[in-house]
Chain length 218, copies 2
């Protein structure tokens, strides 16, 4: 049992080192040697014991990012906030994760690298986020916050696309220092066009919705 716990801890340690390396260098330039160096005290032997290849490691990083995303979606969905505020919270939480968590950053970088060029794209985290946002948009229509003419799949696809571009351009131009402000501006432009008329006065309250994470999760 202690042995198994140690193996899990080692696996986590390897994934952390791999994420830090992929985040810094991208998939092509990251080498297994570099990943071993980024870990504190691992050997190449330990790495090969747990992962067959660099591809395997990249997949493990993307799987952990997926799990982190899903956990945030579930935690936010289980709050008492109206669904539209939950969508705003989700965007800000995705932004926070990208700034704070190398695993999330590496997962997003790998997804983009694997889907650039002409190879068939991997849906990666986008499909999850779009699905979560579609589901919340349906509830937000039922709750009377969104115009009933909004098509949830179309809105969800646009919100996640716009968020993606906001965080990428914020990275290129400002190393994401202004990301929270840019996400807020996105909602400033978007809300007037999607809110039900009798909810327009609540626009500022909705924009300011943030998820108060359980400090134990930090």
């Amino acid at each position: 049992m202690a042995k198994q716990a140690r193996a899990v801890a080692t696996r986590h340690q390897i994934i952390d080192a791999a994420a830090a390396t992929f985040d810094r260098l991208g998939f092509e330039r990251a080498s297994l040697g570099e990943i071993v160096e980024a870990s504190s005290g691992l050997t190449k032997g330990a790495l090969y014991f747990h992962f067959k290849s660099k591809d395997d490691l990249a997949q493990a990083v993307m799987d952990r990012q997926h799990a982190i995303s899903i956990a945030a979606v579930e935690a936010i969905s289980s709050t008492a906030a109206p669904a539209l505020e939950q969508i705003v919270m989700l965007c800000h939480e995705m932004g926070r994760q990208i700034v704070d968590d190398p695993i999330v950053r590496a997962g997003i970088r790998l997804t983009l690298e694997f889907s650039a060029g002409t190879a068939p794209g991997k849906p990666g985290p986008y499909q999850d986020w779009i699905e979560a946002c579609r589901h919340l948009s349906e509830i937000a229509i039922a709750e009377g916050d969104l115009l009933p003419t909004i098509e949830p799949p179309t809105l969800a696809r646009f919100v996640i696309s716009a968020f993606t571009g906001v965080q990428m351009v914020s990275n290129v131009l400002d190393r994401r220092a202004d990301l929270e402000q840019r996400i807020d501006q996105m909602w400033q432009f978007l809300l007037p066009g999607i809110l039900a008329p009798d909810r327009r006065l609540d626009s500022d309250k909705i924009r300011q919705a943030r998820w108060a994470r359980d400090p134990a999760m930090a």
Copy 2:
């Protein structure tokens, strides 16, 4: 003179081959050998005569993409369309270029690759597009199409960010087959929140604005 024209043609041929290769493989995986192979009939000697390194070639591709972008901005700005329609035209034209022109695709891929990770970002095409869009937004306010409370730099930054995300997610999920439709949906969501109240009935006309390129430029 004929010799100089030949040198210019060879340089163009090399940049085309480099763009096709960077577009397909990304910067890291593209090799000079691969680029020579992608050209029809060039030698490695000719390539080294014109370009010192792969970095030089990448810069030349990004410079050509910059020139293509600027030419489209200038052509669209010189039409008689209202400035807000010109912004819509510009987004659709950028989308068309990404789908049709390997140089534009390669330039965007290289910009993103060079700005991923922790190296300082290169503003690449984003800064140009944002500046063009900021200038047009100012005119659109003066023309009474945009709400006077809109801040042109903030709107421009969001439009270019949202466009960037729309084209990237469209690439990951649909290899950009649905790009024009997704750009149109972006304007559908965005226009109601930014149009001056007395222009809201023109929303569909504005959304449908497209630039009719001079066929000679195709």
